[in-house]
Symmetry: D2
Subunit: 343 residues, 4 copies
């Protein structure tokens, strides 16, 4: 990775040291496979407690695209599609995983990476009003990311409104929390885990991008939302024989609020970078309060910064380039200082 500092993404390091310590500590204990071990059960219990959802069903999967594909396929009927922002991860960056599972992504225009209640309602109303609707894909689910792919956050008002629409229309609401730690650790965030469990039908708590080696915890607040979900996971090739690998990680992340603390650290680091950027007159593409910063750079700026740090490429627009700087649970203060010096 050369000598340049990298802020390209939030999944460049391994895992919280405590996770590795516990994997090592329990390594030679014998445990049942497929998530039936006591560590996984402990993780489930801690997540249920954090979500104030004592009856919730919790399943551990390996990654975000996997969680999205399996959850969406399992909840939709064949004739249904999933509503998502046109910037949503499932819309753009999952190589057609949802369609490979048989379903259309009904992409709606975003506002700062967010779906609006208004747009969702319009989509549902227009479907119902269409005389050809029986020849069309029926909107059967709503997919949100929180934080979004642009690092933005839904307000509680926005989420309550979207949840209410879903319940009125009897379609499930699914929240992709691949970066949920960076919301939970953000002062501007209003959504608690308990609120997520109350407002959605299923959501996941991202591990991979938030300090685990791998893993996402899928939470169905209401048990048996999808009968035989375990077998569906197996059939999808997503069941780990050594389920403990995921269980131990989430057990650790949900001990002493490690999950949120990792998120808070990243946001604090990003805030310092943002402050300097503002001070120095850099232009931001989106007003994100979490761990991702989207910079609009002209050629000179891009060349200068690229000399010293690695950023993530986002988009080329005419004469500017949008680049992403991401901090994480692992970002070192000294590296942030060095970045600030460069700016």
């Amino acid at each position: 990775m050369g000598e340049r500092l990298s802020f390209a993404s939030d999944y460049m390091e391994g895992a919280h040291a405590e996770i590795l310590r516990r994997l090592a500590e329990t390594n030679l204990e014998q445990a049942a496979g497929y998530g039936c071990d006591p560590y996984t059960e402990a993780a489930r219990e801690k997540i249920r407690a954090a979500c104030r959802a004592p009856r919730a069903e919790v399943h551990f999967l390996a990654g975000g695209t996997q969680a999205n594909r399996i959850v969406i396929s399992a909840l939709l009927r064949p004739y249904e599609g999933v509503i998502a922002a046109d910037t949503g991860h499932i819309t753009v960056h999952e190589a057609g995983a949802i369609e490979a599972g048989g379903h259309k992504v009904l992409a709606l225009p975003h506002t700062d990476g967010k779906l609006t209640a208004h747009a969702i309602e319009g989509c549902l109303r227009s479907y119902r009003a269409d005389t050809n609707r029986d020849h069309m894909v029926c909107p059967g689910m709503v997919y949100l990311s929180h934080p979004t792919e642009y690092g933005t956050l839904y307000t509680m008002n926005e989420l309550e409104a979207i949840s209410a629409i879903c319940r009125t229309n009897k379609i499930p609401l699914f929240l992709d929390g691949a970066r949920l730690a960076y919301a939970l650790g953000c002062p501007a965030n209003e959504l608690t885990l308990a609120a997520a469990a109350r407002l959605t039908d299923v959501f996941y708590i991202g591990g991979t991008k938030c300090g685990a080696l791998l893993g996402e915890a899928v939470v169905f607040p209401k048990p048996n939302t999808v009968p035989h979900f375990f077998t569906i996971v197996k059939q999808s090739g997503a069941l780990l024989a050594k389920g403990r690998v995921l269980g131990i990680q989430f057990d650790t992340l949900f001990t002493d609020k490690l999950y949120e603390r990792g998120g808070a650290h990243a946001v604090a680091m990003a805030d310092r970078i943002r402050a300097t950027l503002t001070e120095k007159g850099y232009r931001l593409a989106a007003d994100s309060p979490t761990n991702q910063i989207f910079l609009v750079l002209n050629e000179a700026q891009l060349a200068h910064l690229s000399e010293h740090i690695v950023m993530g490429f986002w988009e080329k627009q005419d004469d500017v380039t949008i680049m992403r700087i991401a901090t994480s649970w692992a970002t070192r203060e000294e590296d942030v200082e060095r970045l600030i010096a460069v700016l």
Copy 2:
């Protein structure tokens, strides 16, 4: 269907009388199943001749959505999607058939219902340029309708340009000819069957909307484009045991140019209606030269016309409604006179 004249669609009547006559005439002959009968073989030969494609592989299917789904699935690799206009039949009105087959429809903005070479090229270039392309759906095919869903026609220049892009990029070009008779019978049309065979990798000659009881003839100009296509058709539940039912119909349609003559009749009828509409100052939504007319009606106009004729509902826009008038091979001159009187 009541006493009002209906111009709602081009599939409201049965079939050309000659088709019924031949079905009756051959009814008690014994013939091999699954399209291995002599009538089907004769139909294939006539289509090959009409297409000047002596080695073409011709398969008969029952309907348009079926043809689209099977052809697209058979040609795409799992990681690929199909480029189509955002007004394309596969994009909007096939209930997610393409996605149910595992593939994303990559919808591009249309111009009068048509894809442009420019937009296709942009889509391919932007895919290739994206550093994340391996996480995205690869554009693997182009789908056109001719006539389009708006009744418009591609010029030969447009089709040559699109075909050239597809060949340069080594992706197949698929032309949906559900209403091809209404192009072939239209003075403004430039595309011959021979040109379709030369420019595309697969296309179909629509029967259902062009005078058959049911049936579409899928033409692969180059044999073995899809190995074992017969078995794929069977597996898709699309193989008729009595293949003769399709074979006899296409044999008849391709005898004495019945197919084109039916189309020409419909276009002549539509031209007379269009002339009156223009004269009377009606506004048209699209400038279609074929058998479909899209009217922009205000409330008073809509009420008046609806009293006397049945039109197809297309779209509601603020204070106007877009309605479709379609003629067909079966439209009677006296009915057109009555419609003109109403206008």
Copy 3:
């Protein structure tokens, strides 16, 4: 088809003359598309009456494999498979259509082409008892053919037993009636349409092999068994724009018991052939009372018969060959006399 008489299958001719007459008679009437026309509605009503199932949902599809694939996919959950005889049409002769729809066919050994209640119960019990069952395909449906692929018939006792097992285990029972006319027209048959509606969750009344040009009537005795089945049919590419083509045919078949009469004729013809075969000492592979006869022929017999008639090839076993003779609604008495003369 040469000069030899053909008894190769029951789908070698077109359709009952009355069907063609009615198609011609109604040909130029305008009717709504997609099965919303009055002929299709009349056919539905007649089928409901014949089944004594006034609330039944009736959908018309084009062929048997199509009906099997769509019905099975629509009823099974992703983790479920369908129990069928190892000789069942879906197990052997549908090119993997069920698997292409995502589901395993759980093949059980047959007895004369029939599944036994005992075998089904064993399969369900063994699944439930298996400690690894969550890693296995869950039996979620039972598929029967009546008549079977061997021309045999289930007794009412057998069907009652199988239906009871399905209800106890809360899994649907699906009866494939591709050749149902040849059961209804058979003196040995015990199953009425009303009993089929009472004992199954869905079944279809075959048209293609029983005197129609094409078409199968899928009957769900209980409405809304599969929500949005219409859209699922559309998505599967199985919805005919001119639904009247199927509606008129079934309306005709269910007028004056044409359906059963066609079946009875075929069985009477087969009975005469069977009587001669028995008399002449031919060996039969299965004891079928319906329109199919399976002959076990040595080389000399095969050569002799093949000189005069066309039979369907079934199976080669060591030094004998099993060939099928099938009669149909269209079989002519004079041809049966000629066949008898040959024997």
Copy 4:
């Protein structure tokens, strides 16, 4: 997991200590995602060297069912199925994963868990000879496990014969090596990694059951066997963002032959148990030389052993029960001594 010793499976412990050490040691280094990091590249190089296949394409997946489903789907055409033993993992214990991917498993009778060249040839010949073959699933691939699910091993003669059949028939040969370490570490084994690369078109080197936390290395000896396999993996939800987690593990397993040494240890432990079993007159269900032992136990034996050790349940047959004892890379000598004492 209670106080009883467990020999239930070979995935009850974590990973080789060296793997955990290296994960910890590299934990805070920044590395590119999705398998583009230097550890993963190093692992690929070591595997290529071990396989003497310098151009091989190596992809790391998370588990066996995932590898089987993705590889099989990627290689088969829609009309094809995969030949496997009726005891194969894909046939029985993957919850219909292959069928969910659209393909039939063509199950052939096993001999000691193995497919025979004779049975494969028979299946291919009978498909080709069938006059109905275009209505049937085409055998398009052969799937073997080595060691098999019964712990048995193919001889080189057997593998050469099967490979030759596949090449003659132009269908790929796929070897599932979920437990390959226990073959490589077994004195009776004849198959080297180099031979696997020579004889198959794709195989995988199992990590999960052979000392890794998770992970399987899929090896395509010939590059570009499946174009865009990376994107197919992504679309299937199987691409880990932190690909390093798999790369570091395989890099470690292929350093100083840790992979084979782990296997050899397990086999040595199993051999000692087998010797005692033979001495004590226990009956074995299969003659396995690797790390799995299948015991045929009467009720008294089962009760006695179950009091002291945990075994894996395999099958109940009339009055006996078949139980599995599995050793692994992690089995402790002292535990084997205790087991021997119990016996």
